[in-house]
């Protein structure tokens, strides 16, 4: 992901790519907690006819600028340890560029109940970046723990 000037962070790059026309972003991630697990593959792309697949991510220039995508097929584990797929349940993730503190981002996760009427749980945290791996992560309250791998599309 090469832009003009040295890259500041993977999130700075991702928002810069989304703001500039012509390039896309691939977002892959995991949702981890004792009772919930989920995977996401999401693509932000200006051109809608790509064959890359993945659920669409949306970018809003704001301010504040935001990237939004959904976790689908979130699995809730029972106390017995069996993972029970709940296809109607999903989680929405929003990455927001903080206006007052450049280079920092927040990560909000909304878990939706099966009825899709209203959010069941909201979790908000700082979006941190692991130094060695470049993986974006964050957590709020007691759980969950969210990791994201963000890459530029060719």
């Amino acid at each position: 992901m090469k832009l003009d000037g040295p890259p500041l962070s993977i999130l700075d790059d991702a928002f810069a790519v989304a703001a500039a026309a012509g390039a896309g972003i691939l977002i892959e991630g995991n949702l981890t907690s004792i009772n919930v697990s989920g995977l996401v593959t999401s693509v932000y792309q200006p051109s809608p006819n790509s064959l890359l697949g993945g659920a669409p991510a949306t970018y809003d220039a704001g301010p504040p600028a935001t990237l939004q995508f959904d976790f689908e097929n979130v699995h809730y584990s029972s106390s017995a340890g069996a993972s029970l797929p709940a296809a109607s349940q999903f989680a929405s993730v929003t990455l927001t560029q903080n206006r007052r503190t450049p280079g920092t981002y927040t990560m909000a996760v909304t878990f939706w109940d099966g009825s899709h009427i209203g959010p069941a749980v909201n979790v908000q945290s700082e979006a941190k970046i692991d130094t060695a791996s470049g993986v974006v992560y964050g957590s709020g309250a007691a759980q969950p723990f969210l990791t994201l791998l963000i890459k530029a599309l060719p």
Binding site: E28, T32, G81, D130, Q143, P144
Partner: protein
């Protein structure tokens, strides 16, 4: 105190009448560089591993600290690989948590993936309590919780009482001695 401090403290001094149940969910995110060379050179790909499992005392091996050795706990974790597709089958890997002999408590996680061994310093995320770390350019989050479940107390072994002497009389006799 972190969840890892709690785990090792509970294993070192298990409370009477309780058993320890360790529950965990693990995910792996990052870019893994395979050792195998593909037709076009070394293969590099994003890898996701989702592992869920429940570990009970019966399947948990605790090695207490001994001279020259650190305390460690070892358990099996079932793994379900979402990618690569060739590893979609569920299997288990042995996970080892080691309490390092350092001034401040620190911990290491070791386990094997089919293509590489993973070892990293375990960091506890706040506020989730999720254990995470990165190795080989991958980030692994291993969510662990420690639960205590009551276990029936062991009955004392049956003690025969000689004929003609009640347990009460025998107790008084023993007391006089």
């Amino acid at each position: 105190m972190s969840v890892l401090d709690d785990v090792f403290a509970a294993l070192a001094q298990p409370a009477n009448g309780t058993s320890i149940i360790l529950r965990g969910v693990a995910t792996l995110s990052g870019t893994i560089s395979f050792a195998d060379d593909g037709p076009g050179g070394p293969i590099s790909a994003a890898c996701y591993v989702v592992a869920t499992g429940m570990v009970q005392t019966e399947s948990l091996i605790y090695a207490p600290p001994r001279a020259g050795k650190t305390a460690a706990v070892r358990f099996l974790m079932p793994l379900h690989y979402v990618w690569p597709a060739s590893l979609l089958a569920t299997e288990s890997t042995a996970v080892t948590l080691t309490k390092n002999a350092t001034a401040q408590p620190s911990y290491t996680i070791d386990f094997a993936l089919p293509w590489t061994d993973v070892a990293f310093t375990a960091t506890v995320d706040a506020p989730s309590g999720v254990i995470y770390g990165s190795a080989n350019n991958a980030l692994l989050a291993l969510a662990l919780s420690l639960a205590f479940e009551p276990q029936p107390r062991r009955k004392k072994p049956f003690e025969a009482v000689p004929a003609g002497r009640s347990a009460f009389k025998r107790s008084r006799e023993n007391h006089r001695r």
